[in-house]
Symmetry: C2
Subunit: 363 residues, 2 copies
């Protein structure tokens, strides 16, 4: 595996050109690009430009609408349901979060459930939009079914991530951004490529037995919920995945459970949909709706200091503050550039050739 390091701007210009070429207006192209590049900057390589050709394939299949009319279809002062009009989740979710933020500005909090959307990138991006406004940001999305609930031998839930982001003072924002499965699909793909076995507790095979071969997922197996098995609390991971599914889709009118359309274009969506597209849930709460912002930040800083200096099992591993590794990546990669694996670079350049735009210039 070889990596080629690109400056952020090079990747931005390329990605924006792709989104414009499929018909996104300038604003939407810039926004969708920002979500993907920020993922790469933050070290979450699985959700950045590596997915770009996947979005384009969904657009080719007319499952993504490049010129959506995103609109509020139901609301109260602090709640809303948004119809994403089959747009890119990368555009629909930030729109929805802005609605949540403006409701919070007026009334203290804002909550938006979204239907008829698509994959929204990293949950953290959207939650951090609220943090910039001195708010607590919450974001969730459902996703195509890969996870078997406790006792099930069937994929009924996506890896359904949830994110909570909090503004700190002298420290970077504290960002809990997690799939509700024991291990997200990206980790399996890495093991599949490297032909390595995986720990028990990530996957069950087609018969519902624990599997250590990462390919079992492609052969009728399922991912397992956070907790891995009943003894270790997999019913809790299942409950969290269910919560995300209900807030994102049962509440908005999107598809849920096994009806969520797949992200990959070669799999067709179920032919008996129970709603529109996939769903998200976004929320914002003003910190100063509860206490003065500086008081909150001082105490969150104190919380972070205390946890960072905790006694550890092994001196090589300090306690990690949620969101800190991503923040460190972001500072480094903004300066040193973003390493992209060669298979992704090739994929992007095939995409460029297909769309008739300039290839990525190799530095």
């Amino acid at each position: 595996m070889n990596f080629i390091t690109f400056q952020e701007t090079t990747l931005r210009n390329f990605t924006q050109a792709v989104f414009k070429k499929i018909g996104c207006n300038d604003e939407h192209a810039a926004l969708a690009t920002d979500v993907l590049i920020r993922s790469d900057l933050r070290g979450i390589d699985s959700h950045g430009v590596a997915r770009l050709s996947g979005y384009v394939r969904l657009w080719e299949k007319q499952r993504i609408n490049a010129t959506p009319d995103i609109r509020i279809v139901h609301q109260t002062p602090t709640t809303a349901t948004i119809d994403g009009d089959a747009g890119l989740g990368l555009v629909v979710a930030p729109f929805a979060m802005q609605v949540a933020i403006s409701k919070a500005e007026k009334y203290g909090s804002g909550w938006v459930s979204v239907k008829n959307s698509n994959h929204f990138g990293i949950a953290g991006y959207h939650a951090l939009l609220a943090v910039e406004k001195e708010m607590i940001g919450i974001s969730m999305t459902n996703a195509s079914p890969l996870v078997a609930p406790t006792y099930a031998n069937e994929r009924l839930l996506g890896t359904n991530p949830m994110c909570y982001a909090f503004p700190a003072g002298k420290y970077p924002p504290l960002v809990v951004d997690m799939a509700t499965a024991a291990a997200a699909n990206g980790k399996l793909e890495i093991a599949q490529r490297a032909n390595k076995s995986i720990p028990e507790g990530w996957v069950q095979d087609a018969n519902g037995n624990q599997a250590t071969n990462p390919n079992e997922l492609k052969q009728g197996g399922s991912l397992l919920p956070l907790g891995s098995d009943k003894d270790h609390g997999s019913h809790k991971g299942y409950g969290l995945g269910a919560t995300v599914d209900i807030l994102s889709a049962v509440l908005s009118g999107a598809n849920y459970g096994p009806w969520v359309p797949p992200f990959v274009s070669f799999l067709e969506p179920p032919n008996d949909p129970v709603g529109d597209g996939i769903g998200h849930f976004l929320g914002a709460m003003r910190v100063d709706g509860f206490r003065p912002v500086q008081d909150f930040k001082d105490h969150l800083d104190n919380w972070i200091s205390r946890f960072k200096s905790a006694k550890t099992v092994d001196p090589k591993h300090q306690v990690i503050i949620p969101g800190e590794p991503e923040y460190t990546f972001e500072q480094e990669r903004k300066k040193a550039g973003i390493p992209i694996i060669d298979v992704v670079v090739n994929d992007l350049n095939e995409l460029a050739s297909k769309l008739g735009i300039a290839a990525l210039s190799i530095p």
Copy 2:
């Protein structure tokens, strides 16, 4: 172990007499009783009348105020911070949820962070108050430190439960009510009493090694977050526990992390508090703030039907809908009575004798 079965009313009258005897007014005594009895009805025996003498011991130490002046100290139309005045969490949390509900009635949603409180019983009780009003209920609380974050060899978080409750149509409410540790302390106590070993992944010993002896927790060990180890996502359980701690305490001005005062009266609270008492976080969102209630219920019923009928690994274990076992217990125990283990009956009658009230009449 022997169980004695009491009618609900017998336990209610007894519990109410205890709370009145320590100085609670009639309303508070009835409310605190309702929280405990509902826990026993729902089969969560660890959080019901088994805890009654624990609350009284904290009152004896003047760490619980039986006549609190519970008040809103900061608010916007949809957010509030409440000072529980060191009252019973069993009374403070329902008060806070009523504030959240009345804000939601006006503006669509309501969110309340609580400081200066005590143990609030089962999280599900409070969330279900919102469900009765056709709202989604959310409740969380921090708790005294027992859990070591990933890589830590120190207890920094409580088992910090979170609960999400949703109104269904023909089915009972869907209630996700879970500790963010791999196994809650109650499960360990059962293993300790039975002198049985526990699975790896629940506890680490004083050196940070995986332990299967449940007594290691009392000998300097720690509970582990949901996920159990880094490979299986313990950083996610740690992140969830952190989220509960921040929303409940950093946001309200309660104690957080290792500063949370212990529930047991024989351990003194830290002498360098960073806030007041323990903290909770409660929220309510009107379902019809997003879509008509009947549409939501119809789809949630469909979700539940689909999951209940899922293909299973083992025909003996159907997929369980979160909250369904507790609902079944509640229907059964309302009719057949509540079985209480003899050690708890003895404990309650010692309490009666100490307080000078009538003993529980053994049926």
